[in-house]
Symmetry: D2
Subunit: 169 residues, 4 copies
């Protein structure tokens, strides 16, 4: 199992797709985006303010806890999974995942990108709301520990993926 | 947990979104589309022929088995989940889910739609490849048993969802 | 040229795709959605309120005027075009199009759908903001004149398209 | 009017969105993707082979000619338009646009990206079919003349957009 953690527009999804391409075997990619897509359109306790800050309520926390348990169970059942995550709570978020993934082989990967570059890429993606990239660039790595750290500021997603793949047993 | 089973273009996804709107509490919707989206772009053992027939290989079966185990674990961990599924193997597919969901409260829902109407809706969705709707309309229900059956041929998704919601404890 | 006018969730886009499938020759489909997609993410003078009402400012009007002129020029240059439109201003909107399309062969098509049914389909589409369907169901037809009127409340998009196709010279 | 020309995965779309953000006034972005989206699902004479090579037939050429005339008319009617294009025919493609845009103020922009880097980004985008990026990287610039050339290999889209914006009157 590979857990990618990085802020919005840091390039995690591109790395995840590249990992699926360079790794032997078929890997699934699941992550925050999958969970949000699965939630009711009304939102279920996650809110995005006009300045790009994200607030998460208890209803979302409950769903997320079950989601993490489910992804862990997929891995335990033999699926190779790339998790594409945003640790909004930093070390605390990692702790939640670490507990759920106990006993599984996990490669923790930090996906870094300079705040300014991530903000520029957010504009290039045409998001209606901007600000998330800059706000999350440092926040999500606070107190988190990694096996590998890649930085997309000056390295292509495919090269980052190759570097990560070297650490996959 | 609610498991919706129906062929392509039978209207399952619309019903799932309506269920998320009419049911109290926040329900997650996960399904075949989520799994396929999570797989490598190269496909991992699921192939769609130009006539709309779908062939599934052993690599896909392996991933699917782990996927089902994971979705079951989410429900066991307390998440309310609508599963939006296509039982390509009919009774055998249901059996796989039934085994994984053992001990959980499950409402089995058949989503029917006349083959001709489903094929017409497939054209309206603008899919590049057509034929799936007609081929799957009967196939996916073969030998499957349900708690509720709805038919979208002449009933709106929202009304189907309300009918299903009446059976949710 | 075929101009489809109807409210949000009335089924215009599905009819447009079916027309592209049933008509001989290759037809382009362009419409309000194309224009909005082409605009800056910041919006350029079109606003969607939480109750589903749409407000259009002068900046949008300017772009729309040029957009209509361009679509007319495509048709004049020989392209067969299905226009998928929402006449928020009713007769006045039609007038703007009629002026631009002067001299071209145009089939004006009203796409109707009961307000309640359109609102139900809006829920099934999982839009974050609901209310547009109900608000626009009557509004967009006010004072507009048609060559053909179809009603998607109880007729599939493909059958509506076949009915429209019978009026295409 | 700004015409961006570059191969698949060269970063044109990101630059177009950044231009919409950095330029004063509201600019529309239209391009090859808009045209392909507007065409029938069956394709209308444009084919993508498994190796990523694109073949264009006479039906597509006809639609494209009308499309170009229409975009030119939008600009003539006062719209500020960023055209996001792939000159598959190199100088010949530019010639077609140049003729249609005669009399309009046009900034011709080449968007370059090393073939290897574009190919890497194609993998990161998760396209089912790869090969287009590498094949088009040089091809689309053959014999084309520009007012500005940007290179996304080592420059962010937002910086490229700022460089281009300096040349907009």
């Amino acid at each position: 199992m590979i857990v990618l953690n990085g802020g919005s527009s840091s390039g995690k999804s591109g790395i995840a797709r590249c990992l699926q391409s360079v790794l032997p075997d078929a890997w699934l990619t699941l992550g925050t985006d999958t969970l949000i897509e699965a939630m009711p359109a009304s939102g279920a306790g996650i809110d995005l303010a006009p300045d790009g800050s994200v607030t998460v309520g208890p209803a979302f926390r409950e769903l997320e806890r079950a989601w993490i348990a489910g992804v862990a169970a997929m891995a335990a059942a033999g699926a190779k999974v790339v998790v594409d995550e945003v640790f909004l709570g930093g070390a605390e978020s990692q702790c939640r995942w670490r507990t759920a993934l106990h006993g599984l082989d996990v490669l923790w990967v930090g996906v870094r990108c300079d705040a300014e570059t991530a903000a520029a890429r957010e504009v290039a993606r045409g998001n209606r709301i901007t600000g998330m990239a800059a706000q999350q660039a440092e926040l999500v790595h606070k107190g988190v520990t990694y096996d590998v750290v890649v930085d997309t500021t000056r390295t292509e997603a495919l090269d980052c993926a190759r570097e990560i793949a070297r650490h996959v047993p």
